[in-house]
Symmetry: C2
Subunit: 127 residues, 2 copies
């Protein structure tokens, strides 16, 4: 990191995000690409399951840890190539996992990211 550091374009963020997702480096993607004040928006129907919308990277990471703790085994998953328009990115993603006390579930979602000054300021989930 230098004072000469260039701000990443949205396409650059999309490319890096996609690479980290394909390597299953979810937490690293948050550390590297998210703004510390980023917000995470879940669909209304998900709020009841303890996975509601949160504000701040620390809360987003906490939500990730909670999710990881709920997982017994991951059987498969994928993430699509990103689609980019202006300062937004969309990625499709799926996970096939067994959750503690809940059994095996497949889940597919679209995530939209908003980028500002080279950092992700918002993620919104659709499933």
């Amino acid at each position: 990191m230098t004072t000469q550091e260039k701000v990443m374009t949205t396409k650059g963020v999309a490319k890096r995000l996609s690479k980290l997702f394909k390597d299953n480096k979810w937490s690293e993607a948050q550390d590297e690409l998210f703004c510390k004040d980023a917000v995470s928006i879940e669909p209304a129907h998900a709020a009841g399951a303890g996975m509601g919308s949160v504000k701040g990277l620390d809360q987003i990471k906490k939500k990730g840890e909670q999710f990881n703790k709920s997982v017994e085994a991951i059987h498969g998953g994928y993430s699509s190539e990103p689609v980019v328009a202006g300062n937004h990115i969309a990625i499709a993603m799926g996970i096939d996992a067994t959750y503690k006390g809940k059994g095996r579930q497949k889940m597919d979602e679209i995530i939209v990211y908003e980028v500002k000054d080279g950092k992700i300021v918002k993620e919104q989930f659709f499933f």
Copy 2:
């Protein structure tokens, strides 16, 4: 239309939507693929420009007509291949147009569609 009509899958809707968009058949896409109670969600910053969120296909089509009336000339545009996950579709899209009294503007956006029973029940714009 027969009582034997099959409900389109989300992938089927995405394929057809993409085809109609590439042919610039926006209004036809709404008539063919949207549920009559569909909702259209605009970003908060767009509401002031008279392009707010609306409910119902008739209101969505009215918004489209208002947009068409505001356009003086279209210079170019594109729509991406759709990304599909579960019952959601994301498409990136751009338009380069001159608007009456406002000059030429390029605009890029992501649109997320929610599909239920083979019809689009929600569109949400990100720009």
